[in-house]
Symmetry: C2
Subunit: 448 residues, 2 copies
């Protein structure tokens, strides 16, 4: 078996060549991946059947839950979605080689800041085998090499998808070794130590899984730990809108990170609002855990919340409710208990809305809409690398941009720093250039 | 004494308020810092004298080096520079509240991605007390709270500068507690554990110091570990330019991170080039450590390099020289031995230049100019937070931008996700908006 470090070295070498691939070649390779996944669909589904068979027998013994087995399952519809997703990545704007900043330092001494791939991306995911083609497509489009490890329960499906992608991209001219697969957990532990070769780790899975990764590596991690989301219903809220938003944010899909966990209700509207929202929730079987005062209003329609309820991600039909005295109290409470993923306000007052969105320290702050909108596809970012609750590099729903960084290119004609130091020295012009890096390249080759 | 966690909590609360400060207030506070530092200059210099006195007696015992003591020293000229630097930060464009992306998801459902401060920045620095006002000014301008710890050898100077800044900003209306000072090393260890309160660590100091910080915290670190810089002199180089560039890159200021450490010389020009460059270096007392073949050419003008020389940051008048066969060999060698800070090529061939800048995996890649240009001031970025050799968030010389991130603001009018799911559902328009967040705020307040 090839060691993890050997794989990482190969990926590093490939990553350098990846950074120079043309848009045409990358798109051709993406097309080939999509075509080959569809052509080999029976083989992939057969491999998936083997994983499912094993998982179901473990589920019968209570080792796996039903939703876990559901996430593992592939079918023609899911493969069609994968193929469509890859085509949508192909259609995205080229993320590499964009000029972000161009400035003349002095005559014939020009600086360009140009977007570039990050290098080698480690991707560790659980259960859902469709993460592999999704992140592979995003890494390829952004010119990054990748080392992937999926859940062992999906090992046949993952090997099948990996083989197809690896072969298709090799034939299309992508440097061999740009995509690498790890097979067991001990290899992940090795990978997390390779900060000289791996530039970014993207973990996709449960909260505890992401936390484990974050605590066990020096490599930067792009991921979200959890989604503890709040809605503050302001004194100036349109209560009809508020009921619908609170309902949708909880009930439309309760087991995901952008579902709401706690409502904060302004005291002055609590008596009117709480019965309305609890009626709506009641029909969907939502359990309400209220603060003392809200329980006084809701009586037997709510349980008493405990200290543990604040700051908890339920991923279930449960919601906590707390009465607050002011916008300030709401903002302070959210900043103290939110996971800084998505928080919302319902209000018709623009000053209140403006203060709330500015002072709430979350990656997505929503006014008068459901928390469930917080997602890369709905935000128009295309396929999603993940949702980041970090505050460095990428925050919130993260598309292709999260897999790129930039480099500075300084093109001179023999300049040295000594000439720019001291009295009577040459002066920097620091004059913004209107041309970009591609223009500069063309200009240089003409001069040749 | 106040505990580190208590200080961090205060800083966190202040950071929320900082994010809503107006440009006017921030600039007024910066002006007040500059004025007060100048007004209190005698007091600050007196405090610095006490540090210097103690440091000199330790230097006499061999505990501190001369350059170390020099970096510690403040005088009127240095204070003037600090005051000028603060004014230049005041003059920079407001980094917070810029709209990076604005898109309509559907009618009256608009998404804005707006730049925001990161939160609480931990700054740990050695020896040079002028780091404190520099980073304080950058944090204030970008709306971040900061917790700082300087070297114990500069404790009186730092306390003096901190008192002036803290008082001046309080009077100008900046939230109290936005700037906090730590006093000893055990407090730094505490700080590095507070990933719930501190969003970014900026270490400024030696290589081993930065590595220590990186290895001892889960908080993201913005810093550079070291600068191992190369120049590749291509077969198509203008040798006259090459000599001047190699000389300036080494001799103009040898003890800094962007000074060159190793030259790679194309075989076909080695016999002509090596005597020229070694003559120039010889006059400045630069020691040359050559590969076998370059020693054959240079004879007693070069020592034999050992394996340890490749990938070493000398910070001194020493340069390693290696003969290579091709551009590919040069790129591979650099990618294997560089610290990915700054590497350069000298060539008149545009295709060679183009491949070199793309495939060299360094934050600054320079063509036909000195490596010493790689610096925030020369790059026109204004005052520098630091130089990052990381590939996430910020890379290379990092200005104010490195202290900001963004937030998503989604402004709706009661929309819920259920309406956008399934067949016959509402469709997202995903249409780019030409207005920005400030326009939207104005529009909303008019409607009121």
């Amino acid at each position: 078996m090839i060691s993890v470090i050997a794989k990482a070295k190969v990926a590093k070498v490939a990553s350098i060549k990846m950074s120079a691939l043309t848009t045409e070649l990358k798109n051709r390779a993406l097309k080939a991946i999509a075509e080959n996944i569809w052509r080999e669909r029976e083989k992939i589904l057969e491999a998936n059947q083997r994983d499912l068979f094993a998982a179901k027998s473990l589920a019968a013994k209570g080792r796996y839950s039903e939703p876990f087995v559901r996430r593992l399952k592939l079918d023609k519809g899911k493969l069609r979605n994968i193929v469509d997703m890859i085509s949508s990545v192909e259609a995205l704007e080229e993320p590499v080689g964009k000029t972000e900043y161009a400035i003349e330092l002095d005559e014939s001494l020009e600086l360009y800041r140009v977007t570039s791939p990050i290098g080698v991306i480690g991707v560790i995911f659980e259960s859902r085998p469709d993460v592999l083609p999704q992140i592979a497509a995003l890494c390829l489009k952004s010119g990054n090499a990748t080392i992937m490890k999926g859940g062992s329960e999906a090992k046949n499906s993952i090997q099948g998808l990996y083989s197809v992608i690896s072969k298709a991209t090799k034939n299309a001219g992508v440097p061999e070794g740009w995509i690498q697969l790890l097979h067991d957990r001990s290899e992940v532990r090795e990978l997390l130590k390779l900060d000289n070769f791996v530039d970014l780790i993207v973990p996709r899975g449960s909260n505890s899984f992401v936390k484990y990764i974050q605590s066990n590596t020096k490599i930067p991690v792009l991921g979200h730990s959890e989604g503890v989301c709040h809605i503050y219903v302001d004194v100036k809220a349109d209560l009809k809108k508020a009921v619908e938003i609170c309902y949708d944010s909880k009930v439309q899909y309760p087991s995901v990170c952008n579902a709401v966990d706690a409502l904060l209700i302004h005291r002055e509207i609590a008596e009117r609002f709480l019965p309305l929202v609890s009626d709506r929730y009641g029909k969907a079987g939502v359990e309400i855990r209220g603060c003392k005062e809200s329980v006084k209003i809701l009586k037997n329609r709510a349980k008493q919340a405990t200290a543990n309820d604040w700051g908890t991600e339920y991923l279930d039909l449960i919601v906590a409710i707390k009465i607050v005295d002011s916008l300030d109290e709401a903002i302070d409470f959210i900043n103290a208990h939110s996971s800084h993923h998505t928080d919302a306000i319902v209000t018709e007052d623009v000053n209140t809305a403006s203060r709330f969105v500015r002072e709430t320290d979350s990656s997505s702050v929503i006014c008068n809409a459901s928390t469930r909108f917080s997602d890369g596809y709905r935000y128009g970012l295309g396929a999603e690398v993940g949702i980041s609750t970090g505050k460095i590099h990428a925050r919130g729903p993260t598309g292709l941009e999260g897999l790129t960084i930039y480099k500075y290119y300084l093109i001179g004609s023999g300049q040295i720093v000594r000439d720019y130091v001291g009295t009577d020295s040459k002066k920097f012009t620091h004059c913004r250039l209107s041309k970009n890096w591609n223009d500069k390249m063309k200009e240089m080759s003409k001069r040749d």
